[in-house]
Symmetry: C2
Subunit: 337 residues, 2 copies
């Protein structure tokens, strides 16, 4: 058994409340006598190796200092730039005395024990969750913040301006003289608002540059590669939805002997270590992933602290920026083969 405040109280000859208060820092020590007593209590606690029992505190206070990180997609949560977001969340919460619990949401309903059972004080929702989950959470009035999804404007959220990202990418290509620009989304990518937003941004930049419709490459990679290389209307510049697509395309172009950027320009999304070291280094749309975690944590902590005032939802938008590297160059029409 571990040491409790009662044992300390007995040794110190004071009440357990006093011990608790001193150890919690609730006693200012304004009067000398009081301060001396406090010191003594702290010393005894130290000697006995006392540690606040977090379970008892959580029970009594009704707060665990735990935060749930809710997500549905295993493959996505620790993918590429998201690891930076997660690490940043962990650190930000840690600084505030909170800790993150990984809470995958699936049919197993095991998330319920954590979320509905009150093991957490709030949750960070990564991307979209099934509606019945978000409903359950809002029924509980559990503070939450959405990351990477602003479809529900009644919830606080942090998102990247994907429209702007798409715009930047396409504008860059248009500036290099590209007229036929494609947007490639791999078939394995789950539906997400960022897809349409990036596409809209691309289309808008193309419109501003007096160009026509963007090509939209969906489906399996073979099809995409095929259309890029052998299609009737061949793009000279391709914008990739994420690191996955850039990796695949870069590889495929190498296989088929299409030189990047001489014969084809490639722009990616997300700036990773691997991106910088591709052959050639990838021109990409990046954003401050750390900031997402930081802002998300901050918003959630605000909400938790101000539960009474039930403050209105906050929305933050992160602006992306274009990082120009070696995978883009002037447009060159490839001859028919």
């Amino acid at each position: 058994m571990s040491v409790t405040i009662y044992e300390i109280a007995e040794k110190a000859g004071v009440s357990s409340s006093t011990v608790a208060r001193v150890l919690r820092g609730d006693v200012k020590g304004t009067y000398r006598r009081s301060a001396e007593n406090a010191d003594r209590i702290r010393r005894i606690a130290e000697e006995l190796g006392y540690r606040t029992n977090a379970r008892a505190r959580a029970f009594s206070r009704g707060r665990t200092h735990g935060i749930g990180l809710l997500y549905t997609n295993d493959a996505w949560i620790f993918e590429g730039v998201n690891t930076t977001v997660v690490n940043s969340l962990v650190r930000s919460f840690q600084d505030a005395g909170y800790h993150l619990t990984l809470t995958p949401v699936d049919d197993s309903r095991s998330w319920e024990e954590v979320v509905l059972g009150g093991q957490i004080d709030g949750c960070v929702i990564f991307q979209v969750l099934p509606e019945y989950v978000t409903e359950a959470i809002s029924d509980l009035k559990l503070p939450l913040v959405l990351l990477g999804d602003d479809s529900d404007q009644t919830c606080s959220h942090v998102v990247v301006d994907d429209y702007a990202g798409g715009y930047l990418a396409a504008k860059h290509l248009a500036g290099l003289g590209h007229k036929k620009i494609a947007f490639y989304v791999h078939e394995s990518v789950k539906p997400h608002c960022s897809i349409e937003q990036r596409r809209d941004g691309i289309q808008s930049a193309m419109g501003d540059a007096g160009l026509g419709e963007a090509m939209w490459l969906l489906g399996p990679e073979e099809d995409a590669v095929n259309r890029i290389i052998h299609g009737n209307v061949r793009p000279t510049g391709v914008i990739c939805y994420s690191n996955l697509e850039s990796t695949l395309l870069m590889h495929a172009m190498w296989q088929y002997g299409v030189s990047v950027p001489n014969q084809l320009s490639l722009v990616g999304f997300n700036d990773l270590f691997a991106t910088k070291h591709m052959t050639p280094p990838l021109t990409t749309v990046g954003f401050d992933a750390k900031k997402i975690g930081k802002l998300g944590a901050q918003i959630l902590l605000d909400t938790i602290d101000n539960e009474a005032i039930d403050c209105k939802p906050q929305g933050k938008i992160i602006k992306p920026k274009l990082i120009v590297r070696g995978s883009t160059g002037p447009a060159v029409e490839r001859d028919c083969q």
Copy 2:
């Protein structure tokens, strides 16, 4: 306030213990009358929207069903193949009704609240932790399992046989006629037993093949690249410690116009998506990362369940395998330039 067993007890006209027992499934319902009662209790609980209060249960039982994932290295925990390990851990624990809490260990001592405060029932330790942390944990007699480190044989652990991995890699190169084989570890890699183990395996395979000493490339990448390209004794085959090194070298060789595998063979460690899609696809030493998480979780859960029997530590070793792809080929002496 949420519904408690007392409210249900009152409505059902039974005692709170009965409610708790029924809801917990402790009542078999062998007798008809009892079964009917149990059904009624469950129905009332359902109607009232009752949820077991996990905080109260944790307090009362002295168990939280939480598991801490302890690590010191942000950059490493979600890196490459480790994400697979983490996801596998999460799932395995989830299946057993446990959840994982991310617990970075650093000077902030915030890990103490989680670990020493009793917010978790056991911990998974990723790689090595400062000694005072492991000591504190064993003082607490908190069940633990070490992942990727077997330096303390008194603790349960799951490790990859890195010696065998190194051996496989070097044997492969030797079989292709390579005589000068180097092992490259980037300077940013923190000291870890796997480095020596892989090197020993490499050396051993070289010995078996009648070759001399392996070259050991350490330090900044420029030096390594320089020695590979311009050194007095130039390796024809390089084994990379991890994905980092393979990415860097593959890129550098491309920059300097050294063809892989025609002029230089490259073998990596860890099999990632990106590895398969490098140009050329990387020959690499891979292992079953899912299994690590699975075994780790299983061992820890065993330990937690058998606290009384304080079972002796279990050690599991995962055997790696060589995945031959396009980055290795017959040895060719490069001419002096």
